[in-house]
Symmetry: C2
Subunit: 466 residues, 2 copies
């Protein structure tokens, strides 16, 4: 989308001011603008007018104040792995790329926390922590920045054990629309001192402030890790097993579901010969004896639900072999249709409704004109349908849109949420009222209006009609 | 404090309207007003002008709309166990007693959650859950209401294992100042759908809205539970053991510290003969083998730090005997000085600074003119000094105030929070700027102003100068 500049003279003046501030860390090259106007999903590219690369919270503060003064949009950008159009510059403006703010500021091993600049990625943090015996647990798949993960309330495969960014962010430094800098909390593990600004900014997708520093919880590396897979006659048997594992309080490290379409895709892609059936992947961790106890308890539940072919492994090589299908899923499903875009849905329902919701969504997609598959973080009730569409084909886009709309309608009817972990962006803002009700969305709007009265922070995102 | 009615004609008209709405569930009797004008701490009584007893969210909505229309204060009241003056009617107004809203609305055993009206207490919920194999984990000591616990972001002895109300509230129904009703979230275990209104209202102490329904997480009852105690040569040895337990990832159920003054109080009160030394109390839970593994790992760490007299028990009777001193602490410390009021401080620091902070606070209190003791939820870095004062003696009050002020100054210097779990009320609002900074408190003020523009919800609480 090469949308016209909203107010050319004002934007030109702003860019000149940003150049004065940042020198060549303010760019208007088309290639950089194009790179910053897209995420990883089907949403059309929408270019910012300029891209800036700050190095410090103070620079972000100065940039925000300038954008606010000029009434020009300011859009935070991390690793660019978002899936709901979060980074699209719908009305142009300035993309604020935080990746050069990549300093690990402090590791407090005794307190199990670390403070990083927002552009540090989760893999960079974990590489830095390698010799400490600690690690950062949240794993959304992509090597996202910690700032981006906080801004979208990300989670992923390890959330069943360690929670989401909601539980793993201790404190934030945030730049407000007018340039003021807020520290949301101390490093204390808990506090009752006032409103929970940390959780207000976690998941606000750059619409209430720009996260520039993140303090996260760390966890001790488990003594041992093991893996298992098991197949089931029906999806409901696999999901029932997952429900029983959660109910039994078995502290699985990860627990992932793949549907037969997903298994078939991996077989084709990697030359494997896995049974094309509903499949659960498990990871267990802890002391060797605790791990054994967990895996035996999970196996008993699986067998009680008709599970077959239980395979278990402890060595890194064997674990990697067992989990190969799960790890390769993203590449495998993409390879099902070269050149296609993966439209990833993101329903999350109470776990008791998960089997119904997945089965109905698969039945609905059975006649689709494009390939699809389902994977699920089933310990949390969260699953993703992958629709493999040609994003430049309006008919396929409309078909996927309709499938996704029905999936979300079904999810909400089951008491769930339209997005478990990807966020709202502008792809899902139209569902917020159906999920939360007018009154709750009005409260969100009121908070947005008071924190960003000129509407410069990531306009058009999260809230409908803004 | 028998403060004058702020605006007698307006208040009289409001009370007449409330009588029309509620009949004899609106009271102006002095005894009921006195009961509702006090918590459990040193803060002077401040009477509301009337007390109302709603039965439903709809009634709370009507009451709020009336108070808002008449510009009269509305103060939520649960079990009345608050410690920082949360329920004091500083400018008169209406106390809204939620205890008749005591219906357990739904238990979703498969989803590990329950939805209750705000007046249900934690013990009532757990009695209801007894045969389900599930329980509600947060235990602040007092049999508080779930609404009150959510409003103060309560936690207590089980937080080291299960988190605080921040992690255990799934969704809320909240009545806003103008009577609008907001549902903050679905029952999905995680969501990225918009701003986290649940966490915004958790800990807001009735100043942003009135919590009328709470959906909480449940947990599976552990297969087995055991207990242990151990004494140490010095406080720092006990605290170092606690730090190492947390760092090792041993999932203790509870881990509590008592200082020698606390042990001496219990000995005197219960005729015991415990060693008057720094002491750690442990609870372990899980499968029998996991529990044994945990307790052996904790014991090894304790012995490595000079621990002596490690005692371990699994039967309910023996566990209860071991934990007797901890359970009896509140009565025992009170009995140290009949007629005195317990002023409970509530510091929470990064665990690495806990020993220093406790030792300095005990040294500061060593010359106090009243008895004192220290207990700590040491897995979280949270500890309480109990000052046994005569609340009607201005000199003792001033001495305790000065000790508490220095303790908070020390806590903040160590990177902690002025309240780990009791909340701000009006006792600690003066410390919010020192803890969070002007900018963060300004953001809190802006949110308060937009959600409660007439300032009717629990005025004078949380935010300084409001």
């Amino acid at each position: 989308m090469l949308q016209p500049i909203a107010n050319p003279p004002r934007t030109a003046e702003l860019v000149a001011r940003l150049r004065d501030l940042l020198g060549d860390r303010c760019s208007t090259s088309v290639s950089e603008r194009e790179h910053h106007g897209r995420g990883e999903s089907y949403h059309p590219v929408a270019l910012p007018d300029a891209v800036v690369y700050p190095l410090s919270t103070a620079e972000v503060s100065a940039i925000a104040a300038l954008c606010n003064e000029h009434r020009v949009a300011l859009i935070a950008f991390g690793a660019g792995t978002s899936l709901e159009g979060h980074v699209s510059a719908l009305s142009g403006g300035v993309s604020l790329d935080l990746r050069r703010m990549d300093t690990i500021l402090a590791v407090h091993a005794e307190d199990l926390d670390a403070t990083v600049q927002a552009g540090v990625t989760r893999k960079a943090l974990n590489a830095h922590l390698r010799d400490t015996g600690l690690f950062f647990a949240i794993d959304p798949g992509a090597d996202a920045t910690l700032g981006g993960m906080a801004a979208t309330r990300a989670s992923g495969t390890a959330a069943v054990r360690y929670g989401t960014m909601r539980e793993n962010v201790v404190a934030l430094t945030v730049v407000l629309a007018d340039g003021r800098v807020v520290k949301t909390a101390s490093r204390a593990r808990k506090s009752s001192a006032g409103y929970d600004l940390t959780r207000l900014f976690v998941g606000s997708e750059g619409t209430l402030g720009i996260i520039t520093e993140v303090t996260v919880r760390l966890h001790g590396q488990p003594e041992a890790v093991s893996a298992a897979i098991c197949t089931f006659p029906a999806i409901s048997d696999a999901i029932q097993t997952a429900i029983e594992v959660v109910q039994s309080g078995i502290p699985v490290g990860r627990m992932e579901f793949l549907d037969p379409n997903a298994i078939a895709a991996v077989n084709a892609h990697s030359g494997l010969d896995l049974a094309v059936r509903p499949t659960l992947f498990f990871e267990f961790s802890g002391s060797p004896s605790a791990m054994t106890e967990q895996s035996e308890a999970a196996r008993d539940l699986a067998l009680g639900n008709g599970g077959e072919g239980w395979s278990f492994a402890t060595s890194p090589e064997d674990r990697s072999r067992l989990w190969h299908a799960r790890h390769e899923f993203h590449y495998a499903i993409q390879a099902r249709r070269p050149g296609a875009t993966v439209w990833a849905t993101d329903a999350c329902v109470p776990v008791s409704r998960m089997a119904e919701c997945i089965e109905a969504s698969l039945a609905d997609a059975a006649g689709a004109s494009f390939p699809h598959a389902a994977v699920g973080h089933v310990g949390d009730g969260n699953f993703h349908m992958s629709y493999l569409i040609r994003a430049d084909d309006p008919a396929e886009l409309a078909e996927a849109q309709a499938l996704n709309a029905r999936l979300i309608e079904r999810t909400l009817a089951f008491g769930g949420t339209c997005t478990g972990e990807h966020g709202v962006g502008y792809g899902k803002s139209k569902y917020l009222v159906a999920e939360h009700g007018t009154e709750a969305v009005d409260v969100m709007r009121a908070i947005k209006a008071v924190l960003d009265p000129n509407g410069v922070l990531n306009p058009g995102k999260v809230l409908p009609g803004l």
